[in-house]
């Protein structure tokens, strides 16, 4: 059951009514039931896993809080870590590990291992595992009191708006909201509706229509018809697609929560106007990057144990971000690439920019044309860096990535660019809304421009029209049969 299916909206409508009509205690119970139905819709076989994860963490969290004995607290924490990381490792990375063992064994002339067993990934396991881990770790660190009831805790783990694709909401953000129901306000309801429309627009109008075009561009490789211009278009489309897909989903989740009177943390802050890789990760999948910062980067030393150690921590954190996205070598390389990016960025900042915080906003508004040009130049370089890297997300293997880069960057010198392709690239129309969103945000941040209600009114009306027009369409894209 996905957010753009009719079934989901029926379930949400019922849940919404019950949430506001029933006493809060009953409302939470019905929300939990709705969450479990939502999850079971993907597959009921995964329910025991989330139940095990939640039970162990609730129990371990309570025990950690109850005892003052450091050794005992550590034991309970280790139990929680082992359970969560064990489940995640087995279901998400087990197949990958076995595949590689198999390959190594075969390369050494030994009998391969059976890599064909644990290949079903429970939906959302990466998200709820990180949420439950943060719960026990925060209790261990003394930053959080345990949940009052198992129901509240289980609802925090399984709350359907954020269950399968984030944002990763931490216990200290969500659990307090289960204590008292926030009354609905016109602003909150309208904000929720706006975010839902925004999410549906970016997902259905932008992302879903770019996806087949990207498939077509990648399919040009074997036919030998690909030109460097195709590759550059692919880079642009892919960057927009990934943003629209992920940010669209997050906006939907946050909007749904808003309608239930809940507040979720922001997950995307127009990342393509960042001025460097470090700032990019302060704007991209913010809940993941802040989770990794708090639970991986800082424990590894962060910036407090010397420059070398900081670079090491940055590298490990970025590799963790890469493999969190999927168990495959391209995702690993995605992390390495970003790791190198943030390390070089940090090195540069320390040496040549006085160790400034990666995001100067809102304190360094551009002054004059030179400053603005410099800022736009940095944004251009950042986008070049980031969009080049998205190929790892789409390519089936690493050699394809290098082949893609070769054609994009070396190809123009060998065979010419093929500029005429840009003239026919109608899908660039779909890029425009995303460029517009980022541009307005940049102006907002740099010049203190405030968003007025009528801005949202116009934007929402435009997006609604686009969505309705989409719904009226009844066409199928048979792009796959290009024989």
């Amino acid at each position: 059951m996905s957010f753009d299916s009719g079934t989901f909206w029926v379930l949400f409508g019922i849940s919404w009514l019950l949430w506001w009509r029933l006493p809060f205690s009953w409302a939470k119970t019905t929300a939990l039931c709705a969450s479990l139905i939502f999850y079971a819709w993907w597959s009921p076989f995964y329910l025991p896993l989330i139940l095990i994860s939640a039970t162990v963490d609730y129990w371990a969290g309570g025990r950690i809080h109850a005892t003052e004995n450091p050794a005992a607290r550590t034991r309970w924490l280790l139990l929680s870590l082992a359970t969560n990381l064990g489940l995640l490792g087995y279901f998400k990375y087990g197949h990958f590990a076995l595949e590689n063992l198999d390959a190594i064994a075969s390369a050494m002339g030994m009998e391969g291992v059976n890599s064909a067993v644990p290949w079903v990934i429970p939906v959302g396991i990466s998200f709820y595992t990180f949420q439950t881990l943060s719960y026990t770790i925060d209790i261990y660190r003394g930053r959080l009191a345990p949940a009052d009831s198992f129901r509240d805790f289980f609802l925090f783990v399984a709350f359907f708006p954020q269950l399968v694709a984030g944002p990763i909401v931490r216990a200290q953000e969500l659990l307090p909201q289960f204590v008292r129901r926030s009354p609905p306000s016109p602003w909150r309801v309208q904000n929720g509706l706006y975010l839902i429309v925004w999410g549906l627009f970016t997902k259905i109008v932008v992302a879903d229509n770019l996806a087949p075009e990207i498939d077509r561009i990648f399919a040009l490789f074997p036919s030998g018809q690909a030109t460097p211009a195709h590759m550059w278009l692919g880079l642009i489309y892919l960057g927009v697609l990934v943003f629209a897909d992920f940010a669209g989903y997050s906006a939907l989740a946050i909007g749904l929560a808003c309608l239930l009177g809940m507040r979720f943390p922001r997950n995307f802050l127009y990342p393509y106007i960042a001025r460097g890789p470090q700032e990019f990760w302060l704007r991209w999948h913010i809940t993941l990057s802040s989770w990794l910062r708090d639970y991986v980067y800082i424990p590894l030393g962060g910036s407090k144990r010397g420059e070398g150690r900081q670079y090491f921590a940055m590298m490990i954190t970025m590799v963790a971000a890469g493999v969190w996205h999927g168990a495959a070598w391209p995702f690993f390389m995605f992390g390495v690439y970003h790791g190198l990016g943030v390390v070089v960025n940090r090195f540069w900042n320390l040496r040549f920019a006085g160790g400034r915080h990666p995001r100067g906003w809102p304190f360094d508004r551009p002054k004059g044309a030179a400053m603005l040009t410099g800022r736009l130049g940095k944004i251009f370089l950042l986008n070049l860096f980031i969009h080049t890297n998205w190929v790892f997300f789409r390519a089936p293997d690493i050699p394809t990535v290098f082949e893609y880069w070769h054609l994009a960057y070396i190809g123009p010198f060998q065979q010419g660019m093929g500029w005429e392709v840009f003239g026919e690239a109608r899908h660039l129309l779909l890029v425009l809304p995303v460029v517009l969103m980022h541009s307005t945000q940049a102006i907002r941040e740099w010049y203190g421009w405030r968003e007025r209600p009528w801005h949202r009114v116009i934007a929402a009306a435009f997006m609604i029209v686009a969505l309705v027009v989409v719904r009226r369409s009844d066409t199928a894209d048979f792009f796959y049969f290009q024989f």
Binding site: S2, F3, D4, S5, W42, S43, F45, H95, N114, A116, V117, W119, V120, I121, V123, I125, S126, V164, A165, S185, P186, W187, V189, Q190, L193, K203, I204, D208, N209, E213, S223, G224, Q225, G248, Y249, G326, A327, E424, R426, H427, P453, R456, V457, A460, A461, F462, I464, V465, V469, V470, D474, T475, A476, D477, F478, F479, Y480, F481, Q482, F483
Partner: protein, 377 residues
Amino acid sequence: MDVNTTRTGEPMSAVERVRRREGWMPLVATVVLAVLGLAGWQAFAVGRIPEPVMHPNRFDGVIYWVGPRLGPFYAKQDVDSADLMFVGDSRVYDDIDLDQVRIAGEPGAGLIWGPNADLSILLPAVERLPMTRMVVALSPSTLGAKTNPVMRASLVEPPPEFDSLSLESALSLWTADERGRLIDEGYSPLVVDTHLSRFRKVLRETTLRGHGSTRELDRHVRERLNYFRTSNVRTLATRRWHREWFEKVDPDRLVIATRNTLDEITDEQRDRAEATIVASLRDFVGRGIEVHCVRFPVSPTILELEREYVSDERLRAIAEAAGVPFHEFHERGLAKGETLADRPDGFETRDGSHLTWPASRRFTRLLVETIRGERDG
């Protein structure tokens, strides 16, 4: 209660005061503006949108999975009761507009096609269907074509009876087969059942949403394993949009792909396919079915390319050997005394091999009139 205090009596912030003052006005304004926008769209834009290059898939008919172990062929409309059947490769799907067939007075028409369909496989597979007239797309591409692996498997097995199945039946058949195969490969039954349960659900949802779009079916069959491995980052199912707005005409798009396809077929394969096709066509004719072989229009470049591999005479000879008429829509007259050059719009293709939607409608009307003897073929 003071309008400048919250429920708990605390003073409101400036932002909260502004939000309260706005009330529901932004929502009302949005709805009004959206309604006006939609009305404007309907009044001024809809009629001016250029006609799509690719025809809309407006036939919700059940997907037919030809099996067991044979497919994917695809069917549109109720092929079990169709009187007039169009059979062939993707050109049949793209170039035949069933709306036009119906308008031309042929309500009982169906369509069966497969990607790069090899007629020597497809014709025996449809021989039990109860049609009385059949249009066969005959071209170098359907003469011993490079078939997909599943279709190729049928070459070593006796051609099965064409079994038209509902999606549910097809899914049951396929998953039963797949379950056995996966368990044989060493997967545990629990894992297999989990996988297949989810697969059925996803497939059913996306196929229903796609109104029987075969693309969805194929994509999921092909990517079934990868789908589950990456399901955590692919939460929302893909939804199609006005793709046709973005579709553009490129008559040379399929030149290389067509050459690659034709290169892979050996002369021996062509000879064998030709013999099977002639035998099948004779069999159809012998059972009283009126058969028409048709060379569907393609771009001049693709036409020249195909002629390098199979001459027009050879295609014509196949039809003659089977005793059925052969309609050539490239250079032979479309109407009495009419040639392709007389038509300013011609038969424009969107990729060299498949007609644009406007061209396919014209072509469909001409084809129906031709097989009814109202025009010279």
